[in-house]
């Protein structure tokens, strides 16, 4: 007899088949990653499309972050599938009524877009390196030039046009991809906790704050590691962006919860028992209190007082780290929380994640941090730092 991996303890009445937990923590990691992709891309777009000049120091970092996280998005899904070797069936023979079937198309479209935009953004650097270097890496850069060494003003103007167009298309693509992840849950009528029209927008706004926060943390950490001064205007810009979006995110999240409670449909008793019991700490304390309201107050205070210098750096980094935690808790509370409330509306289950194994805790942590490793590697080949690219670029001419 096979071993059942995710047996859940339960109280009250649950359907017999519900006693096995089907969507593990990897399925919570998956929307967390796509959210970070969309959020990081937002930062890049704010600079490329909306002309937020103060975000220039993180514009390339945002693009690379988005790309690195996007590459890892399918991994938790593949690890979770019963037949990962059949994964492409959903792209080759998509069942059009399924929200999930579009994933392959959306994701691959977006990956191509990200690669293209990164290529255009880095073309001057690639060309310069290709001409300068004669080692193996030089050969790699020469391959990446795709034979074009033209850096004339005309060519650069053409490139900028592409970058702008790709960034414009990228906004709906990134947010569409993530809003669609929210739709996958929101469109399921079997679970009251998921079945909400607001779910896609709730996912979207939490995605934006998580991605911007990630960039704030990455920017501060990389500046410290590289021992270069932090551009306070840029960091403050990121802080403002988090501050603005976190309010919308909080209102939406609050509205969604208020709707469930106020409508009070069948099964609401169980939901109330759940949120005031097992979900009290993960939802109200960690996700809402510590992770969203605290950074909102902290950021508001800093904006009000005109905080600057070290205090600003610490304040924004702390707020951003809290938001990153909050958004992870939000994914957890939706994906795991939704399954902890029985479909019967008369019972609760509790998920105990495995520690080891392909769907275990360690794998979840590894997958969340793996994109950062990829980012470290790729930033060696394509430095996203202004100071690294600019002087060498100038030197080439």
């Amino acid at each position: 007899m096979e071993l059942l991996n995710n047996l859940a303890h339960y109280t009250g009445w649950v359907y017999p088949n519900e006693t096995v937990f089907e969507w593990s923590l990897l399925i919570a990691v998956y929307p967390y990653l796509t959210g970070l992709v969309a959020g990081a891309f937002t930062v890049s777009s704010l600079y490329q499309v909306f002309g937020f000049q103060r975000l220039k120091p993180v514009a390339h970092l945002a693009l690379l972050t988005s790309l690195c996280f996007m590459v890892f998005v399918p991994v938790p899904l593949l690890l979770h599938l019963g037949h990962p070797e059949r994964a492409f069936n959903s792209t080759i023979t998509p069942h059009l009524t399924s929200a999930m079937a579009m994933f392959g198309f959306f994701a691959s479209f977006y990956v191509v877009l990200l690669i293209l935009e990164t290529w255009f953004a880095y073309r001057p650097f690639i060309v310069e390196q290709a001409q300068k270097r004669s080692d193996l890496l030089g050969r790699f850069y020469r391959l990446l030039t795709l034979g074009s060494y033209d850096l004339s003003e005309k060519a650069m103007r053409y490139d900028r046009k592409w970058i702008f167009a790709l960034a414009v298309v990228g906004i709906p693509a990134a947010h569409g991809l993530h809003g669609y992840v929210g739709f996958m849950y929101g469109s399921l009528k079997a679970r009251e906790w998921w079945s909400s029209d607001l779910m896609p927008v709730v996912f979207l706004f939490s995605a934006i704050i998580s991605g911007v926060s990630l960039l704030a943390v990455l920017y501060v950490v990389t500046c410290k590691l590289r021992k270069v001064p932090i551009d306070l205007a840029c960091l403050k810009g990121l802080g403002y962006t988090i501050w603005g979006f976190i309010m919308v995110a909080l209102v939406l999240e609050g509205l969604e919860f208020a709707n469930i409670v106020y409508k009070g449909r069948e099964g609401v008793d169980m939901i109330m028992e759940y949120v005031t019991g097992p979900l009290l700490v993960p939802y109200f304390v960690l996700q809402m209190g510590v992770g969203a309201i605290t950074p909102l107050i902290l950021l508001s205070y800093m904006i009000w007082r005109g905080t600057t210098g070290r205090a600003l750096i610490w304040g924004i980094t702390l707020s951003a780290a809290l938001v990153l935690m909050s958004v992870f808790m939000m994914r957890w509370n939706v994906v795991i929380g939704g399954q902890e409330i029985s479909k019967t509306g008369k019972g609760l289950l509790s998920y105990n994640p495995l520690i080891f194994g392909k769907e275990g805790l360690f794998m979840g942590i590894a997958l969340t941090f793996a994109p950062l490793g990829a980012l470290w590697v790729i930033s060696r080949v394509f430095p996203p730092w202004e100071d690294a690219a600019a002087p060498s670029h100038a030197g080439a001419h």
Binding site: W13, P16, E22, H83, G147, K343
Partner: protein, 280 residues
């Protein structure tokens, strides 16, 4: 290869431009409004194509349906055991194609006590995860009302599970049965989440979703589903709606039947008699 990069880069840019326009066109077509009616939960069409699984069976000539007379069920659970044997369902206390629920109202209490064969107390009473008994757990209590309700896949006319399957591995047959192609299922378990009745489980050994098929391999040979066959009291009724004298046609005609969770819009095809307000 030419060393002059200008003409080649111009051609390449032209090509990239065309590629961009082509991609935009494809996107526009894919997003065309004509897709909308196709994806609505109300328009899930039954599978087309040749009949299945026997050559001498014509699925256009049948419309299967299931009836449950909860007033007759004695909770012996022979159905649950027969189903596991017949359909190679994992022999554990967590995965079932069919199960029986027990509702017990005790004196002075408003809500029912509900359990099923998988409850640890009942498993302890049977002594094995492969055999099922309802433990006599209310023998010292004052029971006001009690009854059993057999459950199974509802083979809905608008099945949420079929709607969400990303590869179309689960589908509705022409004769009204929802099946799963185990050779095509990718094991994402979206269908398990989408079913409001908890009828689906995930077979970890096979890496695919599984559920009741109304014993499709039997009914297409003129036999009854295993659970109907073994029920000693006739609480489970099966038949063809296209045959007006079939047991299920008579059951629906002669009783005031109801279905589970009609508000989901799934339009289930298991018809119940004798269930109570708490049953869903």
């Amino acid at each position: 290869m030419k060393n002059d990069s200008k003409p080649s880069s111009a051609t390449r840019r032209e090509f990239l431009g065309k590629l961009g326009r082509a991609t935009a066109c494809v996107g526009a077509v894919a997003g065309a409004l004509s897709v909308l009616p196709e994806v609505s939960a109300k328009t899930e069409a039954p599978s087309a194509g040749g009949s299945f699984p026997n050559k001498d069976y014509d699925w256009t000539k049948h419309q299967w349906a299931f009836g449950v007379d909860a007033t007759k069920c004695i909770g012996c659970l022979r159905c649950a055991e027969a189903c596991k044997r017949e359909n190679d369902v994992p022999r554990n206390a967590h995965q079932f194609r069919t199960w029986v629920e027990r509702y017990v109202y005790l004196e002075g209490e408003e809500r029912a006590h509900i359990d099923s064969q998988q409850d640890p107390v009942n498993i302890e009473a049977s002594g094995s995860e492969k055999e099922y008994r309802f433990a006599n757990r209310y023998k010292d209590a004052k029971v006001e009302k009690a009854f059993f309700v057999p459950k199974l896949c509802n083979h809905c006319t608008h099945p949420a599970c079929v709607q969400v399957c990303p590869v179309g591995a689960t589908y509705r047959t022409e004769d009204g049965v929802v099946l799963i192609d185990h050779t095509y299922c990718i094991g994402c378990r979206y269908c398990v989440q989408a079913c409001p009745y908890g009828a689906r489980y995930f077979n970890e050994e096979k890496g695919v979703s599984d559920k009741c098929t109304w014993c499709y391999h039997r009914i297409t040979k003129g036999l009854q589903p295993a659970c109907v066959e073994v029920c000693p009291v006739g609480a489970r009724i099966f038949g063809d709606l296209k045959d007006k004298q079939s047991p299920v046609s008579l059951f629906i005609r002669n009783n005031r039947v109801q279905v589970l969770r009609p508000e989901t819009g799934n339009a289930p095809n298991v018809y119940y008699v004798g269930i109570d307000k708490e049953v869903n």
